[in-house]
């Protein structure tokens, strides 16, 4: 699996990210790093605890990372969740969580596949 194929699989925009970050080495490095970021865990925990503020920050961070990496699909769903949480709309947020879960799983799976193929 190449990095482009990985982007296709997770619904990202490789052309965009390479246009911005300029270096394939950098993109690859940060893509691989994405799975080790604790923000998703924090988001889930905070939601479970009903800590809306903490959940907002976690969602916001995920959104930011996705934007940086042009993970378009996850960026979109996490962005929607971020806005709901920012507004303190717990009910609305709850409805948006499944989409984020799904996109996050998809993303992590694609990255794992890519990592395997380059032996990382």
């Amino acid at each position: 699996m190449t990095i482009e194929q990985c982007y296709d699989a997770l619904g990202g925009d490789y052309a965009d990210v390479i246009g911005r970050l300029k270096s394939e080495r950098l993109v690859q490095k940060f893509v691989l790093k994405f799975t080790s970021d604790g923000s998703y865990r924090l988001l889930k925990d905070s939601l479970a605890e009903g800590n809306v503020e903490e959940a907002f920050r976690a969602a916001h961070t995920i959104k930011g990372m996705c934007q940086n990496l042009s993970f378009t699909r996850l960026a979109k769903s996490s962005s929607a969740l971020t806005e709901a949480l920012r507004a303190g709309d717990a009910e609305g947020a709850k409805a948006l969580v499944p989409a984020v879960d799904e996109d996050y799983a998809l993303t992590v799976q694609a990255i794992a596949g890519f990592a395997d193929s380059i032996g990382a």
């Binding site: 965009d16 246009g19 911005r20 940060f30 790093k33 970021d37 903490e54 990372m65 934007q67």
Partner: protein
């Protein structure tokens, strides 16, 4: 990897990945430090804020967010020196607006483009580095200015304080209020051309508003009760007296500062409605500087204690002024009083020292750097303009003769004060032919200038020396300071020479007097050992071809003269010897007292007969002082070979003296070789 720059950047973001992306982009060129939330960032900045050149700051973070960081940086004023670029996915314009309001320099939207981040970081750091440099320049200028004005204010405060019992603070207060009102007025209207320069000059000049009171009778000035109409009429004259004093400053009449001070002195008791004194000017016929100072004067007089009244509270004073109970003022200036009231109240009650200086520095920096729609080149021009005005201002006030010589045009330009002092035109073409200049600067001045041009180099463009010049007919010592301005080319050439002549006569005379004292024996005025050494080295180095002889002598039985007649008599004998010595020797001879009663003469004789000279000198030295039969024993050594050194001569003369003493004193001997072995032990 070797860093291209030394600048440090602080990246603040709660997401490690976001920090890593930024760090990766920048760490090749900058030292990057990371902080994972606002609290950590503030901790880093608190300890090492001054080390950083830039902060990249996320907004949404745990503990303290980006706005908290900005607020704290505002509180500590760090924001003024350390640029902050916000990096955030926030797109709400209110958030962005808030960041700018809190002093963020720039805003980078996520997702960001590596080259844009890089460009903005480089630009921001570069701009701030430039600003810091400019700020230093401006701070220097302002502290110079501050010194100048505060010295003046100081002097005047003391005069006025001394004369009319008013506190010297009045002058400081008037100055502060004047400045605040002027600044407010400048924001309201362009009508009065209130540039930073003008504001600064008027504020400075405001210190002089009451100098005319020096000419008012003490009894009237310090009268505790109300003045009679006659007394009041006399008191009113202080405005004209002050103006006349300033007009009498012929040398500085043209200086802007003096012109403003004149207007302020004369017209600070005029009224907007034309019912003031001395000239009954009306409305804007009254110069704006006088209008402002008038209000400042009234306000401070109301709120201060006077011999005839207690202080009135600020609010009350303001109300009285607004209601026209204390004169008639320009409505626009009354508006300024209203708007600046809190500031005025604060400044006048807390004093205007350090705080004002800091405010002023910031203001200059802001005016020079942040004014809207000013491009970099305009900014530079503005600073240049400021420099020119400042230079012209100081040149007008100083006693120095400043000049610039343009090499290609063979043109000499003097400062106006300099030209006046020399009695020449400001600009002189072909100055070498100008006879007036020759008369003032000496026949050789142009040759000296050309000499300097030949000797200077881009690495050593300066020269400084002292010389005596007959400027204005009086021969005085001047320090000449010159700098050659070289072009920036591959093969540099001299564009011009700038420089000045500073009258250092008094210092020079004091120094030479001190030096003269240090090389002379205080009792006899003869050279001491140090002086002798110095004079000798001059002589032997400068005129090695001349013929010298050294004589040493001491007073016979001086100890018994001291014992019998006392030390005062001893001193008298020493002085007498010195006098006889001076009398008997010639200008080029050196005479020194080298010990208690031991003296030395270096004869500088070219053609003369040294034996005849010594015989004459010896004869003059001997002769009774009161009851003491004064005689001396002397040894002399003449130079036999041109290479003979002073030390050798001295040694030989000493041997000859020994022989004289042993042969019954009151005699002299010339050295001959037999003495060397004979009696040296």
């Amino acid at each position: 990897m070797q860093k291209l720059r030394h600048e440090k950047i602080l990246i603040v973001d709660d997401s490690e990945m976001n920090r890593a992306i930024l760090a990766d982009m920048l760490s090749d060129e900058y030292d990057v430090t990371e902080a994972e939330d606002g609290e950590e960032a503030l901790e880093v900045l608190k300890n090492k804020g001054a080390e950083f050149s830039l902060v990249l700051l996320d907004i949404v973070m745990p503990k303290k967010n980006g706005f908290d960081v900005l607020s704290e940086m505002n509180r500590t004023r760090l924001i003024e020196d350390l640029p902050v670029i916000m990096v955030s996915a926030e797109t709400a314009s209110a958030q962005i607006e808030k960041a700018y309001e809190l002093g963020a320099t720039d805003f980078i939207m996520r997702p960001f483009d590596a080259s844009i981040v890089h460009r903005r970081v480089v630009n921001t750091i570069f701009l701030y580095a430039k600003q810091r440099k400019l700020l230093n320049v401006i701070e220097e200028q302002i502290s110079e200015k501050e010194q100048n004005s505060s010295m003046m204010v100081d002097i005047l405060s003391h005069i006025v304080e001394f004369r009319n019992g008013e506190s010297g603070l009045h002058i400081l207060h008037v100055r502060t209020i004047t400045e605040l009102l002027l600044r407010c007025l400048a924001r309201k209207t362009d009508r009065y051309k209130l540039t930073e320069e003008n504001i600064s000059v008027i504020s400075m000049a405001s210190a002089l508003h009451d100098i005319g009171k020096i000419g008012i009778d003490d009894k009237i000035l310090n009268k505790p009760g109300r003045l009679t109409p006659e007394e009041f009429a006399l008191m009113k004259e202080h405005s004209v007296i002050g103006a006349n004093m300033l007009e009498g400053l012929s040398a500085h009449r043209e200086a802007v500062l003096v012109r403003r001070a004149y207007e302020i002195c004369r017209w600070h008791h005029e009224r907007w409605d034309g019912k003031g004194y001395p000239d009954g000017l009306k409305g804007d016929e009254i110069p704006i500087c006088a209008q402002i100072v008038a209000l400042a004067d009234v306000y401070d007089a109301l709120t201060s204690v006077r011999v005839y009244k207690p202080p009135i509270p600020p609010e009350e004073a303001k109300r009285m002024i607004m209601e026209g109970q204390c004169g008639a003022f320009n409505p626009l200036i009354l508006e300024c009083l209203e708007e600046e009231f809190e500031q005025i109240k604060d400044a006048v009650s807390h004093g205007a020292g350090e705080k004002a200086a800091r405010r002023e520095i910031r203001r200059f920096a802001d005016a020079a750097l942040h004014s809207k729609a000013i491009s970099a080149s305009e900014r530079t021009l503005r600073l240049l303009d400021y420099e020119r005005m400042k230079y012209a201002f100081y040149a007008e006030l100083t006693e120095e003769i400043q000049f610039e010589y343009k090499v290609d045009d063979n043109l000499l330009v003097f400062s106006s004060a300099g030209a006046k002092k020399l009695g020449v035109a400001n600009e002189i073409v072909n100055p070498e032919t100008n006879s007036r200049l020759k008369e003032q600067l000496g026949q050789d001045w142009f040759r000296q200038l050309r000499g300097f041009l030949r000797e200077t180099s881009p690495d050593a463009p300066d020269c400084r020396y002292e010389c005596e010049l007959a400027i204005g007919g009086n021969l005085r010592w001047y320090s000449v300071i010159m700098r050659a301005i070289w072009t920036d080319d591959v093969s540099p050439s001299i564009e011009s020479v700038i420089g000045k002549l500073v009258d250092v006569h008094d210092t020079h005379m004091a120094m030479s007097e001190l030096k003269e004292k240090s090389i002379r024996d205080p009792l006899t005025g003869l050279l001491n050992r140090e002086g002798l050494d110095e004079e000798l080295s001059n002589k032997f180095v400068q005129f090695p071809e001349r013929k010298y002889a050294v004589a040493v002598f001491d007073i016979d039985d001086f100890k018994s003269a001291n014992d019998v007649y006392g030390h005062q008599f001893g001193d008298k004998v020493l002085r007498e010897i010195a006098e006889r010595l001076i009398h008997a020797t010639r200008m080029h001879d050196l005479c020194a007292r080298i010990g208690g009663d031991e003296f030395l003469i270096v004869f500088d004789y070219d053609m003369g007969d040294i034996r005849a000279i010594v015989a004459r000198v010896f004869k003059t030295l001997c002769g009774a002082v009161d009851d003491f039969d004064l005689t001396v024993s002397m040894g002399v050594a003449e130079m036999t070979e041109p290479t003979e050194r002073y030390e050798q001569l001295f040694h030989k003369a000493d041997l000859a003296l020994y022989v004289s003493k042993n042969s019954g004193k009151a005699t002299y001997n010339f050295y001959d070789d037999s003495m060397e072995t004979g009696s040296a032990g």
